[in-house]
């Protein structure tokens, strides 16, 4: 027991909320379930902030680094002689940071949903699931060991599944949930294999032991080589596959756009701010291992991140469903974070990328949640997701409009909004490492500004559409979270992350490199300008542009047919060319053999009936023949 033992309550409170609300779901009238959930999460949020304060400020001895603290640990299961699964709470900079992010966004979403989900069937169920998610996510970030992380990783996956499939009567919602679950499950397979390899080579799951750069674990990771890379590198790549699945990195991203079928607050919480960054968190958590023993794996991380950010940004420019645009934007931004981790090194200023990644994770959580919640308010007003059904909403939804604009400016990297700072750090880190990656990110920064403002203009500018009823501003429970998050988006950029969250726990000096920052601002402004020209007033320009890039546009609009490719693989190959033959094989070959044996016996039985002809002389003949044969065999042959 130590002074952080109370942190155990942070995940447990939502858990108990989940159990109690979930069990009594049909008995909770009105908003009672929601209120219980919100209250529970409020406490957790408070505790998180308190922890952050305690860890970063009050308990911190100036001049020293931040060390990790095991607040609590129990043995859950003995696996092998060496490997034991523990459950516990680990307090260190990134987990505390994540606590803050998760509880903040989650709390906002809880409040917001009181308005947004009002009157929905299964309101209490929604809150139960939200609490389950919060519990899982908090458990994930507080994990003391890799295996605990995997456990909560799965739980996060299932709560995401439950929330995406919240409107279970809608087939598209359920199939999206299914897709999300299966794709991430597939990724988790990689994670699990990675855990197997890693843990058997190091003999431990524990993060503290694993990530101690001078510890036995890292030292013992020499390992045999397999296909040119060391076994540990393979393990790390496998683990990264798990992270990539959760974080929707190409090519495991296909579930994320579909996941937008879930209620918008869910998208804001899970698919923008928290769960999707779990992959980043995972790599960050194991960062010492990555950087010390598997630089090749980090290269993979960087390139996958870079490619995904570009790929998603391109697609985002063509989508018309506002939530999907945001989803692709999320992918793109997570790509940034991955890239940033990938180019980072361990310790001191070399760890800039690590810091930048976490920084961006933090700011992104704020502004992306804001964007989603804003989009939710819009959808709440017009009952559609499609930007073609929107236009001119700025006069109906003033608060939403302003907060949305702030978020757009933030993501576009316009100072002094927070996005500018975090993105700048990432670009700096990339610049240090690899110029090609850096170039890509520059381009993506411009694209981001462009598509965000395309979105912005399409929603809030242009002329009115035929709305069923006049759109009205959301109620206070929805707008207040917007405002709080807008506040966060604006000011979180000033947090001294380089002092708090670093790869080795030690603070380092960081400053804005204006040689990189100014061009990036310019690129952002350029993107905004293009978007303004094309979309502020409705004109033929977008269509012309689309027509002139028609092939490319169509591919981008169709998300480069990755979905179709997956459908081909799953439906055609797995279902038709594996499962069907397996089922056929089972019925006809395996079972057929068994039945065949039975039928053969029956056949033989039927065909030897002539032996029993009823004729006594034939019987006697067989008798005598038998005697003669026996004499022949046993007297003369044997």
């Amino acid at each position: 027991m130590n002074s952080y033992a109370y942190t155990l309550l942070i995940p447990l409170i939502p858990f108990f909320v989940f159990v109690s609300v979930g069990m009594a779901e049909d008995k909770l009238k009105g908003k009672l379930g929601g209120l219980i959930g919100t209250a529970g999460l409020g406490i957790a949020t408070f505790l998180s902030y308190f922890t952050a304060f305690k860890y970063f400020i009050s308990d911190h001895v100036a001049g020293t680094g931040y060390t990790s603290v095991k607040a609590f640990e129990i043995t859950w299961l003995h696996l092998t002689d060496k490997l034991t699964i523990n459950l516990g709470v680990l307090i260190d900079p990134i987990s505390v940071m994540m606590l803050v992010v998760i509880t903040t966004v989650s709390f906002m979403v809880h409040i917001y949903s009181l308005g947004y989900m009002e009157g929905e069937r299964g309101f209490a169920r929604f809150y139960a699931f939200l609490s389950l998610f919060s519990f899982s996510m908090l458990g994930l970030v507080l994990a003391t060991n890799l295996f605990q992380m995997y456990i909560f990783w799965e739980l996060v996956g299932v709560s995401s599944f439950l929330l995406i499939g919240y409107y279970y009567e809608k087939p598209s919602a359920f199939s999206a949930a299914k897709k999300a679950f299966i794709v991430t499950r597939f990724a988790d397979l990689g994670f699990l294999i990675g855990i197997l390899i890693l843990s058997f080579n190091t003999g431990t799951f524990d993060f503290k032991e694993l990530t101690n750069p001078h510890g036995i674990a890292i030292a013992s990771m020499g390992g045999a080589a397999f296909m040119g890379l060391s076994v540990i590198t393979w393990a790390l790549i496998f683990i990264f596959i798990g992270g990539a699945g959760k974080s929707a990195m190409f090519p495991l991203h296909i579930w994320l756009p579909d996941a937008m079928e879930g209620p918008t607050p869910v998208s804001a919480l899970i698919h923008a701010a928290t769960m999707v960054v779990a992959g980043v968190y995972l790599v960050a958590r194991l960062f010492p291992v990555y950087s010390q023993t598997g630089p090749a794996a980090l290269q993979v991380v960087a390139w996958v991140g870079a490619f995904t950010s570009l790929f998603a940004a391109v697609i985002a420019t063509t989508q018309t469903d506002i939530k999907r645009v945001l989803a692709f934007s999320t992918m793109s931004q997570i790509g940034y974070m991955m890239l940033s981790l990938g180019v980072s090194k361990y310790g001191g200023e070399d760890g800039l990328g690590f810091m930048a990644s976490n920084f961006h994770l933090f700011t992104h959580a704020m502004f992306k949640a804001l964007l989603f919640l804003g989009a939710g308010a819009v959808i709440h007003a017009v009952h559609s997701n499609d930007m073609n059904d929107m236009g001119g909403l700025r006069k109906y939804l003033p608060i939403t409009h302003i907060t949305f604009l702030i978020a757009c400016l933030t993501i576009a990297g316009i100072p002094p909004f927070s996005g500018f700072f975090s993105k700048d750090e990432i670009l700096s880190a990339a610049f240090e490492s690899n110029k090609i990656l850096f170039g890509i990110e520059y381009f993506v920064a411009g694209l981001t500004a462009f598509y965000m403002f395309r979105l912005y203009y399409n929603i809030f500018w242009g002329h009115d559409r035929h709305y069923h009823h006049t759109p009205h501003e959301a109620p206070l429970v929805m707008t207040v979270p917007l405002m709080i998050l807008a506040f966060g988006s604006i000011f979180s950029g000033f947090l001294p992350f380089h002092n708090l969250v670093t790869s080795d726990g030690l603070a380092f000096e960081s400053h804005i490199d204006w040689m990189i920052a100014i061009p990036s601002i310019l690129v952002g402004v350029l993107g905004i300008a293009v978007a303004t020209i094309m979309y502020k007033k409705e004109n033929a320009l977008p269509d012309k542009v689309a027509a002139s890039f028609s092939f490319f546009y169509r591919w981008a609009f169709k998300k480069f047919y990755v979905d179709e490719f997956y459908m081909f693989v799953t439906k055609k190959i797995i279902f038709n060319y594996i499962s069907r033959p397996v089922a056929w094989f089972d019925r006809h070959i395996v079972d057929g053999t068994m039945n065949g044996i039975a039928n053969l016996i029956v056949f033989v039985s039927f065909n030897i009936k002539g032996l029993q002809s009823g004729r006594v002389q034939q019987y006697a003949f067989v008798f005598v023949g038998g005697v003669v044969a026996m004499v022949l065999i046993f007297v003369y042959v044997l």
């Binding site: 009936k609 002539g610 029993q612 002809s613 009823g614 004729r615 006594v616 002389q617 006697a620 003949f621 005598v624």
Partner: protein
Amino acid sequence: MIDNIPLNAFLVISTLMFFIGIYGFLTRRNLITMLMSIELILNSVNINFVVFNKFLYPNQLHGHFFSLIVIAVAASEAAVAIAIIINIYRNFKSIDVENLDQMKF
């Protein structure tokens, strides 16, 4: 007085008779002739017993008595067999063995 006739000569005769009897059993269609074939078989066996007794083990009369008993058994067997055959004749108006295949397979 029989010293110059080898034992095997008797045995060959009895064996041939035995198998002739079996041949009769396998080919005669009339139940009574089948019964007669049986008598041939038993008779050949009797010769065996007697010859063995006389030639090889004359100190006891095992073979002799065996033959005696076999004759008695043959008689009782024949009695029952003929009773059944007559019964069959009453039922079928025939004693052809080929008719006796009501039950088969």
